[in-house]
Amino acid sequence: MNDKTNITLTINGRDHAIAVEPRRTLADAIREDCGQTGTHIGCEHGICGACTVIVDGEPVRSCLMFAVQAAGKTIRTVEGLAKDDKLHPMQQAFMDHHGLQCGFCTPGFLMLAVGVLEREPDISDDDLLDVLSSSLCRCTGYQGIIKAVRAAAIEMRGK
């Protein structure tokens, strides 16, 4: 049926040579073809943000990008945040501030926040709230997430 294209996805510094249909989403390719299931799919139309990953330094919704569009680009997912056993400051802050309950939206929030803060370390609290309001969480009521991201922002600026 549909022809497949050979591409290489570079995820967290590791190359994955895969064959995908042109219509295959990046989210599906990351999860199904590359086996990195930390990236979650919550709505498949770019609203909930659970599937957010960082592509060439920008947070993107991987359900709205085709896998073939990400070939040759640098992709970072939640699996790449911790270094060995040491959690990324953002992960640690989510733990410290009860920024997660069920944990389904968490990888998307982590990648969104890390991506934005790396690009814009001095972002104002209000702009940060705007950024965070682009993803959905159904458990926490957001207060723990906001506290965690603000705390991690301070920590990340210090580095």
């Binding site: 919550g42 944990g103 389904f104 969480c137």
Partner: protein
């Protein structure tokens, strides 16, 4: 020797977090088996009609498609049974796993496609042609009941609850206040959609279902019965669960279909719902219309409440049967003295998605109704909304308070509470007097700002039992095995904290096993804010038993008496110093190992209670509502982990705000759902949920369990619609203006324009 760490009552970090933060969670979609087939459901596009034809030939011709099923292929499977509040009269209204002859809502499963992967399955599903001869859709529960079948109409049953002489109350009333009120259709909408993966292991003759949640043991038994298997040959496995809120984990048609197909095709069958499906196929909730009136005396004391309501249950009666209307009727009186009461709840079916429970089921609805009444009584008598509540509250001395109603198979007896004290604390936390004065000034300056207060009684800790087994392994590791489930709320941490204190070990080393039917024979699952209360106490009992066992055996080994020993950080030690022995060594020296099991039984629920205070600003131009201040006070008897309790309450608030201001499943008159994506079903974001003040109090421990526990899950959501309505009324300066939730900008503009005109 150091004193044992005390874990209960401390906000220790969650044991659950690390895998979830590092992308190592195992949610339903993360589970795959070699050779699996993907299932895709073909759903009805009509709200009501007769199926005239199903043509799957084009779908079957597509490469990669293995099979297509219709009702004929599952004719041997009975409809989905009731789990709670099942009434005989409701049985003919149960949902079949695939529609046979008639479709009753848009989204109803009509056929399923099995294919090599999701992409092919979706292509194939689009090719299945279903002929439907459309019939008139019944869209309003308040319309006259229509025909359901030849013999049955769309009102399967009426919930009736009453006590006292209601007619006398109204005869003797100084005044009567009356309202017509409605609550919009909305639901839990967890971020993870539903999913189920079934696998049949021929070698062991075991059917496995992965992706289970909430009530795995009950579902195991029900699935076994539906599929004609013994219960021991069906096992359910809960992985990580991306939010529950009442709706996830009930048996749905798709769960039965993956299991039946795994048995038939001898292939692992995987089904993962997409978001559009979720919004039209998973349980909806909440939609009710109430005609309520209260009889009062000259001081505003309630003499009686008389409520008739219409509960829109959608197209079928699902697993919850009459639970939601039953709870709405049973919990309406709340924290007030209501000498006479009558509720008549019409369970009505319509051509919309079927309904079930959603966080604070029935209470979100009837708290809105009751608290609207209290505000109206205040206006009628000319006292403020705090004073009218004070006058009517049940006093501390009246506890335990027998309400005279039953629900969920239990008599409602408020076990403990000091409602007036909590009201004072909440008002202090909100700095109510200053808040009131400031808002008054701002209103005088032309702003539309106002504040509201709402009170409620929750219920939690539903029995009848929970069993827990605690084991110390040969290497000293401690395992707690329970039949409850985790839906993301922090069960593992809380159960470990309780076990740690009772046993004398560190909570962080305890492994809590839940939701695995092959690890423990019985279990009640996670619903009705029951886990911490029921499983918590069962854990304490089992761990205490284990401790006694360990000490008695160690006493023999150490040639001393058991009461000369203690367990500290996993070591049996002599009180006062001397030799010690690790628990693992005690376990190794026992021929049957070191374990203990115990069961906590409870015939009554426990009743936490709360007060919410809100201040809002209304934008007259847009009809938008901004929440400026929000205070929640909740007495839960004993908080095992205060931070997690706060998390529950904050999360409940967000969902409550959704139902109060934003979320609503809308339909057109033909029954076409209009809220099928997150672009049209609006859930609160970080912008809409205000920073809140949460006050957890422990003034009224439950007398029904030794730790005094009450559940935390639902008090954040319960009164949000009520308090927001109260605050908007105040902002508009029009008591009783808000009669319908959600208060969308459109509705509020209509109210504002009405006032102008």
């Amino acid at each position: 020797m150091t004193a044992p760490a005390k874990f209960v009552g401390r906000s220790v970090p969650r044991l659950e977090d690390r895998p979830l933060l590092t992308g190592q969670g195992r949610f339903a979609a993360d589970i795959s088996f070699p050779g699996q087939w993907t299932m895709r459901v073909v759903r009805s596009s009509a709200a009501h009609g007769v199926i005239t034809s199903i043509d799957a030939s084009a779908a079957l011709a597509l490469p990669g498609v293995h099979a297509v099923w219709t009702a004929a292929d599952v004719a041997h499977i009975p409809p989905i049974p009731f789990r709670l509040t099942g009434l005989k009269a409701l049985e003919p209204y149960r949902q079949p796993v695939l529609a046979k002859d008639i479709v009753r809502y848009v989204g109803e499963p009509v056929a399923v496609v099995f294919a090599q992967d999701q992409y092919v399955a979706e292509d194939a599903a689009d090719l299945v042609e279903i002929g439907i001869e459309q019939q008139q859709a019944l869209m309003h529960a308040t319309d006259e009941p229509g025909a359901y079948t030849e013999d049955l109409n769309t009102e399967p049953s009426v919930v009736r609850k009453s006590y006292g002489d209601i007619d006398a109350a109204f005869r003797n009333a100084h005044a009567v206040v009356a309202f017509e009120l409605s609550i919009g259709r909305h639901t839990g909408v967890p971020m993870e959609t539903r999913g189920a993966i079934a696998r049949y292991d021929q070698a062991r003759d075991i059917l496995e279902m992965h992706g289970a949640a909430k009530v795995p043991h009950w579902n195991r038994d029900a699935l076994a019965q539906m599929l004609g298997r013994t219960r021991d040959s069906v096992q359910l496995y809960e992985g990580h669960v991306g939010g529950g809120f009442g709706i996830r984990g009930e048996i749905y048609p798709e769960d039965v279909l993956v299991c039946a197909a795994a048995l038939k095709f001898k292939k692992p069958i995987k089904w993962i719902e997409d978001r559009r499906e979720h919004l039209i196929a998973a349980n909806h909730s909440r939609q009710q219309q109430h005609k309520v009136r209260a009889a009062i005396d000259a001081q505003g004391h309630i003499l009686g409440i008389d409520d008739e309501f219409f509960h829109d249950n959608g197209a079928y009666m699902r697993t919850h049967a009459a639970t939601v209307p039953d709870l709405a009727a049973a919990m309406l009186p709340g924290p007030y003295v209501v000498p006479a009461y009558r509720a008549v709840g019409h369970i009505r079916l319509t051509n919309k998605t079927p309904c079930g429970t959603y966080r604070a089921p029935g209470r979100y609805e009837s708290t809105f109704v009751r608290e609207r009444l209290l505000d109206a009584i205040a206006a009628k008598v000319g006292v403020d909304k705090v004073e009218i509540r004070r006058r009517n509250l049940i006093g501390k001395a009246a506890m335990p308070y027998t309400l005279g109603l039953e629900t969920l198979g239990t008599h409602i007896v408020y076990d403990s509470g000091d409602y007036a004290k909590l009201l004072d604390k909440a008002l202090d936390a909100a700095d109510w007097k200053n808040l009131w004065l400031q808002l008054l000034k701002r209103r005088a300056a032309g702003e539309k700002v106002g504040c509201g207060v709402a009170m409620f009684v929750e219920k939690s800790g539903l029995g009848p039992f929970d069993t827990v087994r605690v084991e110390v392994k040969a290497d000293g590791a401690v395992e707690v095995i329970t039949g409850v489930a985790s839906i993301g709320q922090g069960v593992e941490t809380v159960v470990a904290q309780i076990c740690a204190d009772a046993l004398g070990v560190d909570y962080a080393g305890i492994r809590v096993i839940h939701g695995q039917t092959d690890r423990i024979d019985k279990g009640m699952g996670a619903f009705a804010s029951r886990v911490t209360v029921m499983c918590g106490e069962a854990t304490r009992l089992a761990a205490t038993k284990l401790r006694d066992k360990a000490l008695n055996h160690a006493a023999q080994l150490m040639q001393t008496k058991a009461d000369a020993l203690d367990i500290v950080n996993g070591e049996v030690v002599r009180i006062g110093g001397g030799a010690s022995m690790p628990l693992g060594e005690v376990a190794r020296s026992l021929p049957d190992g070191l374990s203990a099991e115990d069961t906590f039984e409870s015939a009554h629920m426990v009743y936490p209670y709360g007060v919410h205070v809100a201040a809002v600003r209304v934008d007259a131009e847009t009809g938008g509502v901004t929440i400026e201040r929000y205070v929640m006070a909740y007495d839960i008897g004993k908080a095992v982990n205060p931070k997690l309790v706060e998390g529950q309450i904050a999360g409940g608030l967000a969902q409550g705000i959704g139902g109060a201001l934003l979320e609503e499943f809308l339909y057109d008159e033909a029954g076409e759902p209009l809220s099928v994506t997150f672009a049209d079903y609006l859930m609160p974001t970080a912008r809409e949920v205000p920073e809140s003040t949460i006050l957890i109090t422990e003034d009224a421990p439950s007398p029904l369990n030794p730790l005094g526990l009450k559940g935390a899950g639902e008090g954040g959501a319960n009164p949000v619609g009520a308090v927001i309505a109260s605050a908007i009324d105040d902002a508009l300066g029009r008591p009783g203006a808000i009669t319908e939730l959600p208060v969308t900008p459109q509705r509020l503009r209509t109210i504002l324009n009405g006032a102008a005109g």
